[in-house]
């Protein structure tokens, strides 16, 4: 065929590049949103630190250190808040990307391209995760500079890797939400509920050890809870946790589990949608 000679060899990398460029361009045109995303961890942390001092009085910081092992509540909260935002945005983007594409009419058009559509949704995590790692770095760096405890390049690489691996299972959860809720069109309601549960059980602003064992057991399957724990150890406590590889192995297993579940659920919905005409409903 004539057009084959005009096609690149590594088509999937080309698709990924296209998704990167598209996502960055669209996001660059929502400047206000990004200012809000970058400042929100500070605003929420300020609120929590203020409540902490109001409740704990002069002993607040001492109590905080006893419960968390971290002496700086602002760093602890900003760190947790940044990961919380990253997780919320990843889940929203993946869970709602299909619905949004349906609404603007690009969903079916993606099905007309010679690609595995699930891979296309999966690729969307890459630019979003890159942006969220950048936001995380921008948010945390000022406090680290102020405290004079900057991370080494290796520590930054580990931090970026941990954030990325923590986000992977959320792609699987996002695909499940997308597949189950596209039909009912109430995607935002479901995403908000799941995000609330994940936020509650991830320990962004408090250590999970203060909760009963049943809560800790449920938190075991929440991928972000492990990521938060590793990041707090590396950034706030300035130590590489001894069980980091155990955490990372579990995170990878959770990623495989949630991604497989997401792909199976989505594939099933896709087949039914092609039979019933759901693909084009919006």
């Amino acid at each position: 065929m004539r057009s084959l000679s005009r096609k690149v060899q590594l088509g999937q990398l080309h698709v990924l590049k296209g998704i990167f460029v598209k996502t960055f361009r669209i996001m660059s045109r929502y400047v206000g949103t990004w200012i809000m995303i970058m400042t929100l961890p500070y605003m929420v942390s300020g609120l929590f630190v203020g409540i902490g001092y109001a409740v704990g009085g002069q002993n607040a910081q001492k109590n905080f250190y006893q419960n968390t092992g971290v002496s700086d509540p602002l760093l602890y909260s900003v760190l947790g808040g940044s990961i919380m935002l990253a997780a919320i945005i990843v889940l929203e983007e993946i869970g709602a990307v299909i619905r949004e594409e349906q609404l603007i009419g690009t969903f079916e058009l993606i099905y007309l391209t010679p690609n595995n559509t699930m891979l296309i949704w999966f690729y969307h995590i890459m630019p979003i995760a890159t942006l969220m790692i950048t936001v995380f770095s921008i948010d945390v760096t000022p406090i680290l500079v102020w405290k004079g405890s900057m991370l080494s390049p290796l520590e930054w690489v580990i931090v970026a890797g941990v954030i990325f691996i923590s986000m992977l299972p959320l792609v699987g959860i996002g695909l499940i939400i997308a597949a189950l809720t596209v039909r009912f069109k109430e995607i935002w309601a479901v995403i908000n509920v799941i995000n609330s549960v994940i936020t509650l059980l991830s320990g962004y602003y408090y250590p999970l050890e203060i909760f009963p064992s049943i809560v800790q057991a449920i938190a075991f399957v929440i991928p972000t809870s492990r990521g938060v724990q590793i990041l707090k150890d590396i950034i706030a406590k300035r130590c590489i946790p001894t069980n980091m590889f155990e955490h990372i192995t579990i995170l990878l297993l959770l990623s495989v589990f949630y991604l497989c579940l997401g792909f199976i659920t989505y594939r099933r919905w896709e087949y039914v949608a092609k039979r019933t005409g759901e693909l084009s409903k919006y």
């Binding site: 005009r6 690149v8 080309h14 058009l109 099905y111 690609n115 092609k274 019933t276 005409g277 084009s280």
Partner: protein, 342 residues
Amino acid sequence: MTEAVKAMNLKKIYVTKERKGFFKGEKKVVEALKGISFKIKRGEIFGLLGPNGAGKTTTIKILSTLLIPDAGDAWVNGYHVVKEASKVREIIGVSLYSDRGFYWKLTGRENLMYFAHLYHLETRYARQRISYLLKLVDLEKDADRLVEEYSTGMKSKLNFARALLHDPDIVFLDEPTIGLDPNSARKIREVILELKKEGKTILLTTHNMFEADMLCDRIAIINKGVIAAIGTPHELKSMVEKHKVVEVSIIGFNEHVAETLRRVDGVLNTGVKIEDPMSLKMVLKIILRDDEVFSEVLRALVNEKVRVESIRCIEPSLEDVFVYLTGEKLVEEGTARAVARS
């Protein structure tokens, strides 16, 4: 396989839900396609002509792998649309919507570039191709504006350009000129004819008889999921040419008049279109077996005591073929006039 497209006995049923009050709903079964079959030769412009809800878009969606048929088979360039869907997608270009299907916060050019990436087109080639297509559809000047600023016509043209992005051999166009102003519609029609010269095979759906007549080598008249006839515009019109086509404009029309006329011996079919609901002005197309029936029709009209504004014998058009075959009219009169002007 010599045909570019082949459809055999395609059937599709949709199950929809009709709301009955707050919580109750009733399932409704809609038979969108009732076993349609057709073949499209290579390099041909083939039109699916029919009113809204006839099954045109469903047919295109099945052929472009977006929908799985309930029964029947279809092949595009020899590839089965269900079993070899990915191969079909590589060789087809599809334009589905007139003004949807874009990222509003990207420019027209950026939208096309994104889809070029999804089609794995090499970047330098993609840039050249996009510039060529934007020029082809007269969007060059507006290519770097955000799509959110585009008019409906501009979005339609951009949609059309996207369908041609990877230079497909087979192009499916669903109502390509709907919502366009006469000049833009003319431009799109010119491009379609250019594509034919390049040897592309084109399947287009339309309810616009002038467009079908002007562009298509062959036309399938489709109504309520059934193909009523297939042929060249000339062949189709010759079905009616041996009969007489009369257009009657009536004020104070009611359904009883149409029924009475249908019962007149020698009236083969009638199609009714409301022109002005306030004055109950209707245009009635009547296909008569021969001249002798005309006086019977006049007598029936006089007996019905309606105000006849005009009666005229007309040259048969595809619209009349549609009326002859289905007993329904195809397009809004206003639309027809606008198209005629363009």
